[in-house]
Amino acid sequence: MLSFFSNKILTNATQYMTEADIIEGCKKGNRKAQEALYAQHSAKVMGICLRYAKRREEAEDVFQEAFVKIFKNLHKLKTNQALSSWIRRLTVNLAIDNYRKNKKHYGHLTTEFCQESGDTDMTILQSISNKELLEIINKLPQGYRMVFNLYVIEGYNHREIAEKMGISEGTSKSQLSRARKMLQQILKGLKISLIN
């Protein structure tokens, strides 16, 4: 009941202001406008951070950094640009920077995962929840996960991914292919366990 009312309150808080009001207010450093923007976009931004970060704590750090950067750089938002896509792009770039900074701490892939697997039954993919799917994607090695997120979810091509991550196009393609195979294998295993 409490969460229902909390969501209601957060939604209703932003109904006071239009997006243009919020942007203008944030540019002037108005705290209420900043609160409203935070209320509107925090859930989505957190979702992006969870997709890219290795751990919850890392995701929270990137999340906070993202919002600080959003508020400080809102004056750079162009009039014809949509706020939500600008925020999403900024957050993704920050997540990539965070990955590049911490790359040396991430483990390496074990090859036994990368075996050929048959086509995934789409029904199992459709039946699992978003959160479960996130957990499955988070099982991927960090590098694969980054490429997978950038290609499949953000829609970047391999050239752009290679530029952002400092890898070659070939590496990006092979990592994407391996990421898909790993996910399909995990989903296949999940299906078997569900049947059993």
Partner: protein
């Protein structure tokens, strides 16, 4: 391959759809950390502008001091005062830079005696820095040319000039030849040339600096104007925003509070009585005490809120107890069947039974404090004071009643205009319901759970 391609597309599409819809819950203190970071990095605009202005002012003062120093000549240069710069010697009105590019004219040193050229050079270099406009180099050269032209005839007798190209000036062999051709001392000529060039360069730099300083002065004035405008705009914005906020915060409230009254725990019973047993004093039967309030609330700032209004309270009282008076005589009973006496002190006991409802109508005023600034739902602690009068007057009852209420309130925003609140509260009554000379007196206190609806009026949606 084709199958895999199609399969991959569908696979990606489903994952894309699910992941773009994914939302997460941030940490509970994330907003506080973000605002702390924002407040840390923030420096008042005014401070930055004034800091910049101070630096520029220092530059200005430094340049003036530096300029004045440059205009004085020391003795070491006296021998060279008869040297004229290009602008004085060259009778064309070309600017300094242009002259410098092509030729360096070196006078032959025949007389080392001091002459009055020093004054003219001093004048030429002593620019009036209080002017708002920079003298053009042409003006400068013209002025000096005019001054020195008068003296040129005299000096011309004493000096003759050798012109060498500047490119040759850097070539020692060519310079030597040129100078020797000019029957001049090489060392002296070099010295003269270097100093002349140095003077020229400094002059050009000075002129450039003066120009910059003047622009900076104008810039500073503009900055100050902008600053004042920013200040005013910021003040207007803040005042307006505050006005809207306060206006927005006027609310009408209506609340119903079921109450439970406890009185026997704080008895104020007459000293002459002993209560031996309470019976069914807490049983309210079918009637419940309650309070109704109709009032207003207003936000004073982000934390504090004031409230006031009308209050109607009905306290159902159900008092059944057995009592005996302390001073009652002891009755001695005899048991005639026994062979002796037995005394049984017995106090006369009486039963008091009353079912009564106290109806109070009054006004209240109070304040509440928001505990967590950003948490939702809003949580507040507060207190109010109520002054009420008894509606159903009775000679044994006090007509005026004051009470104090402490509460903890949780506000749920249902819509931009409507708010629902739940508030457990404790009410304490300062005086007994009964008058002093009544049979008994009891100060009730009640606990209740206020359920309120608040409607906002005015302000921005």
């Amino acid at each position: 391959m084709e199958k895999n391609y199609k399969h991959d597309d569908k696979f990606d599409a489903i994952i894309h759809q699910k992941m773009t819809a994914l939302e997460g819950v941030p940490a509970f203190d994330a907003w506080d950390n973000i605002t702390a970071e924002l407040d840390k990095g923030k420096t008042p605009t005014q401070r930055i502008w004034w800091g910049t202005g101070s630096v520029l002012l220092l530059l200005l003062v430094g340049s003036v001091v530096f300029w004045k120093k440059e205009t004085t000549f020391d003795d070491g240069e006296q021998n060279l005062t008869h040297i004229s710069t290009n602008e004085t010697i060259n009778q064309s009105t070309n600017i300094l830079l242009q002259n410098k590019k092509n030729n360096v004219e070196i006078p032959i040193k025949e007389n080392t005696s001091q002459n009055d050229n020093s004054a003219s050079i001093k004048e030429s270099l002593n620019l009036d820095l209080n002017d708002n406009f920079v003298k053009t180099t042409n003006q400068l050269s013209n002025t000096n040319s005019e001054k020195n032209a008068k003296k040129t005839p005299n000096n011309a007798k004493k000096t003759s000039l050798i012109t060498i190209k500047k490119e040759n000036a850097n070539n020692p062999i060519k310079k030597t030849n040129a100078l020797l051709d000019g029957k001049n001392d090489l060392k002296e000529a070099n010295k003269v040339e270097n100093i002349a060039i140095a003077k020229l360069e400094k002059k050009e730099e000075k002129l450039v600096v003066i120009k910059k300083i003047n622009f900076l002065k104008i810039g500073l004035i503009e900055l100050e104007n902008d600053l004042q405008l920013l200040d005013y705009q910021s003040f207007v914005t803040k005042s307006k925003a505050k006005e809207i906020e306060i206006k927005k915060a006027t609310r009408l409230t209506f609340a119903f509070t079921p109450l439970r009254s406890y009185k026997q725990l704080i008895p104020n019973l007459n000293d002459s009585m002993i209560v031996s047993a309470f019976e069914d004093t807490e049983t309210l039967q079918t009637k419940t005490s309650f309070a109704l309030t109709l009032g207003m609330e207003r936000e004073l700032n982000q934390r504090w809120e004031a409230e006031w209004g009308l209050n109607y309270t009905r306290i159902e009282q159900n008092m059944n107890f057995i009592y005996s008076k302390k001073s009652a005589p002891i009755t001695v009973l005899f048991d005639t069947n026994q062979n002796g006496f037995s005394t049984l002190p017995v106090r006369k006991q009486e039963k008091f039974a009353q079912q009564y409802a106290f109806n109070y109508l009054g006004i209240y005023g109070g304040a509440s404090y928001r505990i967590f600034r950003y948490a939702q739902p809003e949580q507040r602690v507060g207190a109010r004071f109520t002054l009420a009068t008894l509606v159903n007057r009775d000679k044994s009852l006090n007509s005026l009643q004051e009470s104090f209420t402490a509460f903890y309130k949780v506000n749920y925003q249902l819509s931009p205009y409507w708010r629902f609140s739940i508030s457990p509260e404790f009410n304490y009554y300062f005086r007994s319901a009964y008058k002093k000379d009544a049979l008994l007196g009891a100060k009730p206190y009640t606990v209740g759970l206020q359920l309120g609806l608040v409607r906002r009026f005015g302000g921005k949606k």
